[in-house]
């Protein structure tokens, strides 16, 4: 089976690699690019731990083949902070104790970042509904929702001209 050459942008960096077709985007990020912040919780598209942002959309990276990511722009959890400073969303998570073991957290951060970027006015019900695509075993979700509601303020400010 022949490798395929792809070119994509990850967290602002241009990447050129050759991959076997069956390699998932998650595996590409983790093993080839050593961006291990994106985690694998199930590899069959249910848990959401592997979520990254592709061309602005939150997607499950275990359900995308790397070859399908040719020409796209990806943001992973490693791309959310502003250098040394945590993003408003990350800071809110810390403030509200919205993570415990942290394994599901990267997938939730990218999902909520994508959601709030597009829907900064999202209310609690909408946030919960979107969050239902990410499984967390530690927190019971309440502090995550609180953190997202607080962080939304920063996204609303940004959305205003």
């Amino acid at each position: 089976m022949t490798d395929v050459a792809i070119a994509l942008t990850v967290n602002g960096q241009n990447i050129k690699v050759s991959v076997e077709p069956r390699l998932t985007l998650a595996a590409l990020l983790r093993r080839r690019l050593r961006l291990t912040g994106t985690h694998l919780g199930c590899e069959h598209g249910v848990c959401g731990a592997c979520t990254v942002i592709v061309d602005g959309d939150a997607v499950r990276s275990c359900l995308i083949l790397a070859v399908q990511a040719d020409g796209v722009e990806i943001t992973t959890v490693e791309g959310l902070a502003h250098g040394e400073t945590l993003s408003p969303l990350q800071s809110a998570f810390k403030k509200h104790h919205a993570l415990q073991c942290g394994f599901c957290t990267p997938g939730i951060l990218t999902t909520m970042h994508a959601l709030l970027s597009e829907e900064p006015d999202a209310a609690e019900e909408r946030i919960r509904h979107v969050l239902s695509g990410n499984i967390c075993r530690c927190t019971g979700y309440l502090p995550i929702v609180e953190a997202v509601l607080e962080a939304a303020e920063a996204y609303r400010k940004k959305a205003q001209p």
Partner: protein, 767 residues
């Protein structure tokens, strides 16, 4: 300086987790690393006729493949806990040899240059297994027929009876008795990170490094070294970030032997990462208990006696956790109640299913469900309000310390030390609005029946009497704290830093608490039974105090002062009048100049356990036509003595309640009558998501300190889960009482609940 203990501080571990810069075991990439995949039995019970690795070995990219006899040098997986007499006859070899006894049991391993190729190679392994009749429950285990271990001539691994008081008298005197059979279903912890190991053997150094182990690192290290024929100090268990433990991660499993054994044999680092399908069939299951329970009461509702039989389905083998789940179930049936006559017959058996181990609140979740359901039935029969019934029977403060009696054959009786159980219940009744809600019990509102239910609990934590620490002055003047307790996401790093900072009198930012690793401490004991704060915390405090002694002595020597001339105060070496003379960076410089290390060991030993306690209340609406249950409100209260970090403690409470709600309604590991495992993906094994239980509330408070440790702290990791099944089942039962539906079984899933409702309705209409 304001004490750090007691403050809801943001966690130190968060930054790296939020940035995606943590190191979980699958994040470890070593040069020359190869990947191991496990070939697992597709059938539940059978005799292995043939395992042919030829085609697998010939595949491009495969480095090696091993099975059966290749691992004969490895011992069986040892018992670590709950050595009930008899269970040790049913231990597991790390690889199946002549028989397979559960779907998922390892039969062979392959090693390849990528994980994809390793999985490809599994498909090239040819096996022949003669299927045998499976054992799937007590009925098939206890009647002559299929035997998992022919040499033992039984499937019952252990059977014992514990009793206290005069049961005959209790039942003779009782105006009321009731007997029911209850069932708690098989489910498990499902941490978001599956298991994994990286093992690296350095032939020149003669050292084996293992990443991915946790919970009881030193026990695991010692056992692994013995198994590999190495000295203990040749094997090191390295700390990593861990994606949740909940009791199932860190016990020794077959892979914990297979992976390092193969790494040593091949001489290249080996990585094995469990996929989710494997995880569901290979990581410890839990909770599957049947309990035949009978209560005896006076007409006024005083419980005179409680007796019954606990049947524990342990799966195919006794592993490290021994008989712990049924043992604890029997032990916790008494709960926080004054029950003088107790008698429990415990029957533990093997079946052709995945082996069973501890899962958060092992035995308690089950026992509380059984006992609290039966109590509500009694209360209802006697015409006594369930809250009142509990108040009558809760142990009063003036009755503590209270001995439960010897309810475990190999352990001393629990002595509940301090507590005010009624206050725990009162807090919950107030918060949920019990008086208002009980008026709605059974009422139909918009097509749904409403009900409120209660559970009271006592929870034991802090087991395994000792823990160690080491406190070290680093070159740059910061303090490193080493502990024997592993980080599994529970906020221990921050909690221990708070304790160390208070003891030393310095800012938290000057302290770094390291994850447990056998490289950093000679001996540690581990993270289990919510003991991190109790044992680990007290050990750190001891270590810090010893460090103060050490650094003061060092300063006196260096400055050529008489002993005790200089002092430690306000986080520095001071003169008698309190003038700060030398800070830590300065002292570190002096130590470096002298090539001296300033450090101290600490330890904490106590056989005293701690007992948190409290209550749960659930308010539900049940749609009798679909069996759907909505949890309209939930409240739990737990007295945990002292909260080192209240925010972290609250997080444990809420998280464990939601996990428990999953256990009551969703989580379910299902086998068919052939022992075939049916819930192999997360599409079939369901856990709570953000929309399932949005209304969950609770409080952790500190009214009564633990009397058995200097900090007064109790474990806070499990109280939130142990009362959930009892509370929601009682609420559902209260809601459906007008329909006369008997709730004795979990899970409360829509099809099963609907079945109970419909069967009752059919009975009623046919009468």
């Amino acid at each position: 300086m304001k004490p750090f203990v007691g403050q809801s501080l943001e966690r130190l571990e968060d930054d790296r987790l939020l940035r995606g810069e943590a190191t979980f075991v699958d994040d470890i990439m070593l040069d020359d690393m190869i990947y191991l995949a496990v070939f697992r039995s597709p059938i539940a019970h059978g005799r292995i006729i043939r395992v042919d690795l030829t085609r697998a070995k010939e595949m491009n990219g495969v480095v090696a493949a091993f099975a059966g006899a290749d691992f004969d040098a490895l011992p069986k997986i040892p018992l670590r806990l709950a050595p009930v007499e008899g269970v040790a006859r049913f231990l597991q070899r790390p690889i199946a040899r002549d028989k397979v006894r559960y779907v998922g049991e390892p039969i062979a391993v392959v090693l390849a240059t990528t994980p994809e190729l390793a999985e490809d190679a599994l498909e090239l392994i040819d096996i022949e297994i003669d299927q045998l009749q499976p054992v799937v429950d007590w009925a098939t285990a206890s009647t002559p027929g299929a035997l998992l271990f022919e040499e033992n001539n039984t499937n019952v691994t252990a059977r014992y009876t514990v009793s206290e008081g005069d049961m005959a008298k209790a039942f003779a005197a009782a105006a009321y008795t009731r007997r029911e059979t209850f069932y708690c279903h098989r489910h498990t912890a499902l941490p978001m990170e599956t298991r994994g190991l990286v093992a690296s053997w350095d032939e020149t150094d003669g050292r084996m490094k293992i990443w991915g182990s946790t919970k009881v690192l030193w026990f695991n290290r010692k056992t692994t070294a013995e198994a590999l024929g190495l000295e203990m100090d040749q094997v090191h268990m390295m700390g990593t970030d861990v994606g949740g433990g909940f009791g199932v991660r860190g016990e020794l499993y077959p892979e914990d032997f297979l992976v390092p054994f193969v790494a040593k044999k091949i001489g290249r680092p080996v990585k094995w990462i469990e996929d989710r399908r494997e995880h569901l069939m290979a990581t410890n299951h839990s909770r599957e208990i049947t309990c035949d329970l009978e209560i005896a009461c006076s007409r006024e509702g005083l419980i005179l006696g409680l007796r019954g039989t606990v049947y524990g389905d342990m799966g195919a083998y006794t592993r490290t956790n021994g008989g712990i789940v049924p043992v604890r179930t029997a032990q916790f049936l008494i709960g926080p109640y004054r029950i003088r006559a107790l008698e429990f017959d415990v029957a533990i058996f093997v079946s052709n299913k995945t082996p069973v181990g501890t899962y958060r609140g092992p035995g308690r979740f089950e026992a509380n469900f059984f006992r609290e359901r039966l109590m509500d039935m009694a209360a209802n029969d006697l015409g006594i309000d369930p809250a009142e019934f509990r108040s009558i029977n809760l142990i009063r403060e003036d009755e503590l310390p209270y001995s439960t009696g010897k309810l475990v054959p190999y352990e001393n009786p629990f002595i509940y030390d301090t507590g005010n159980y009624q206050t725990g219940l009162d807090r919950v009744l107030e918060a949920i609005g019990y008086d208002r809600l009980r008026a709605l019990n059974g009422k139909e509102i918009d097509g749904r029946r409403h009900g409120v239910g209660l559970t009271c609990f006592v929870e034991c934590s802090g087991g395994g009497p000792k823990e160690n620490s080491r406190v070290v002055l680093e070159r740059d003047g910061t303090i490193s704290v080493h502990t024997g307790c592993s980080m599994i996401g529970q906020g221990l790093e921050t909690a221990l830093t708070q304790l160390a900072a208070d003891t030393l009198g310095i800012e938290m930012k000057h302290i770094r608490v390291h994850n447990a690793s056998t490289e950093n401490l000679d001996e540690g004991f581990g993270t289990f039974a919510s003991r991190g704060a109790i044992r680990g915390g007290n050990a750190v405090v001891d270590g810090a105090k010893n460090f103060i002694e050490q650094i003061t002595r060092f300063a006196n020597e260096v400055m050529d002062r008489a002993a005790n001339d200089l002092q430690w105060a306000n986080g520095a070496i001071t003169d008698h009048d309190g003038t700060i003379l030398y800070d830590l960076p300065t002292l570190a410089k002096y130590a470096a100049e002298r090539e001296q290390s300033v450090e101290a060991n600490g330890s904490y030993f106590s056989t005293g356990l701690t007992f948190s306690y409290g209550a749960h209340a659930a308010y539900v609406a049940v749609d009798p036509r679909t069996g759907a249950v909505e949890v309209l409100d939930y409240y739990a209260a737990e007295d945990i003595g002292v909260a080192i970090n209240p925010m972290v403690v609250h997080g444990q409470l809420i998280g464990s309640i939601v996990q428990g709600l999953g256990g009551a309604f969703l989580d379910h590991l299902i086998y068919d009558e052939d022992g075939q495992f049916l819930t192999g993906t997360l599409a079939d094994y369901l856990v709570p998501t953000a929309t399932d239980f949005p209304k969950v509330r609770g409080e952790s408070y500190g009214e009564k300190l633990a009397s058995t440790n200097p900090l007064g702290v109790k474990g806070a990791g499990e109280g939130g889960i142990v009362g959930v099944a009892g509370a929601v089942a009682n609420a559902v039962a209260a809601a459906l009482r007008p329909l006369d539906v008997k709730i004795t079984s979990l899970p409360l899933s829509p099809p099963l609940l609907w079945k109970s409702i419909t069967e009752t309705a059919n009975q009623v209409s046919s009468n």
